[in-house]
Symmetry: C2
Subunit: 314 residues, 2 copies
Amino acid sequence: MTTPRLAIGLDIGGTKIAGAVVDEHGTVVTELVEPTPEESDAESVTTVLLSMIERLRAEHDVVTIGVGAAGIVEWPAGRMLWAPNNSYRDWPVREQLEKVTNLPVTVDNDANVAALAEARLGEPYPNMVLVTVGTGIGGGLVMDGKIYRGPTGLGAELGHIILNPDGPRCGCGNHGCFEAYASGTALTRMARDAAADDPDGLIARLGAEEGEVTGHTVLEAVQQGDEVAKALFARLGRWLGVGIASLANIFEVDAVVVGGGLVETGELLLAPARATAREYAYAPTARGVPPVVPATFGGDAGKIGAALLALDNA
Amino acid sequence: MTTPRLAIGLDIGGTKIAGAVVDEHGTVVTELVEPTPEESDAESVTTVLLSMIERLRAEHDVVTIGVGAAGIVEWPAGRMLWAPNNSYRDWPVREQLEKVTNLPVTVDNDANVAALAEARLGEPYPNMVLVTVGTGIGGGLVMDGKIYRGPTGLGAELGHIILNPDGPRCGCGNHGCFEAYASGTALTRMARDAAADDPDGLIARLGAEEGEVTGHTVLEAVQQGDEVAKALFARLGRWLGVGIASLANIFEVDAVVVGGGLVETGELLLAPARATAREYAYAPTARGVPPVVPATFGGDAGKIGAALLALDNA
């Protein structure tokens, strides 16, 4: 029996950086998490990555490193070009990490690697749209079992389809993007508006206790039965459903898989998303309506997929 | 020297049915056009198709027939499942035409075949989105030189991405689709609203002369220098640009090609579409902005592409 090869998988989001040692079957052997540094530029993020890599390598022999990062990654060069919610720009991630670690490094968009993990290890959906709902909205497309990136990695920016050109400003600078309506950032914005509208309401009070109003404040308020907080999730889920419907009208898919941190709120988000995706489905009797399902690996898909992709290339 | 093989190409739109005899190089040898019958059901359209085929075959020896039809076509079965702007439903087009003509018949979505013609004979764009603006909005996707249809032909319904969930009702029954905002049908709706708002305006007066207000009325009013009519085209073009931006954010393409009958209005439609597509482009400095260009074959791409596809299969 041969020992399975191990890889480090790193997933750089807008809020946290997740790292793990993963084997070829996608099993997580060890894991770590660090907050994304406030500055979120190439230098500060590199420092965190190298520290995580060092700690993970101290425990396990790994043959390669995979990185999934929120933003536009030039493929296969592994250069981070730009990101809406992090400050890194024109950052040669792959080159820098290979130089320091002396290991082969593969870098891709975070939602692309999450889609890889879901497609390979989750439910068998050879044609799938993955929407990750976290700080931003990430998108992964699986067509006929393969990740669609576009010729140089600039494709599948699903979080930036426009759901209303007169909508709220997005982290990317545009107005009315899917991400501006249905991400964790959108939930925080809506929650702050709700707290300002009703300073005596539960969201405002919990926010005052916590020091600030965030998406977590809304979740806590929901758990305490607050109707305003429930309505915010319904609104977020409705916009998620509109975006999902648009994507399901473009692609013929077996399922729309929802991942990212916010999917851990379960049906609170998914039930309204599902209802709205059905409402806006094109020609549902002729085309059917693909199921909207939670990701098998929830928020863990990114680090697992990053490691799998690296092992494919190693 | 061998004589090139000939095919009949037919393009069934919401307003007209175009037919031609086309050779393997895409050269149109003969052409015909008929209005789409008012009922637009399978029976009435079949009658027109068979009459056109008969007339075209009387002049030329053809080896195969290709049909591009507005609506959702099951691939490769050639069954028209449903269409937003025509009444045909569950129509076994391929089977019916093969039975009567004794020729092999290939049936696909009209925008898919138009995209094939553009990709093969137009500017060399191996990765391309084609948006056809006619009665409805059709979409064709070319990725790495190949047409994307989805596993059974249900994909690439680009006219039904949602540009605003609270927008006007679409022919498909939904609200705020790309097609509800930027098609010939949308122009007619806007023109009728404008005529009702200003019964003494040029659009209303020309409409009264012609018997009804249509998109053509607006074009005529523009040619007479009418500012209201110009503003309608600017609005239509703006929505076209929003839809194009969404699609260009999803796909990494060399160009967005605009075809269909309305592209014959040229810069009137394309200039505002181009400006808006640039305005809503995601991360333009990192990703670039693909050019928005008129289709090489204008409204003729459908019949040419249908014939080429049939010759590929024959």
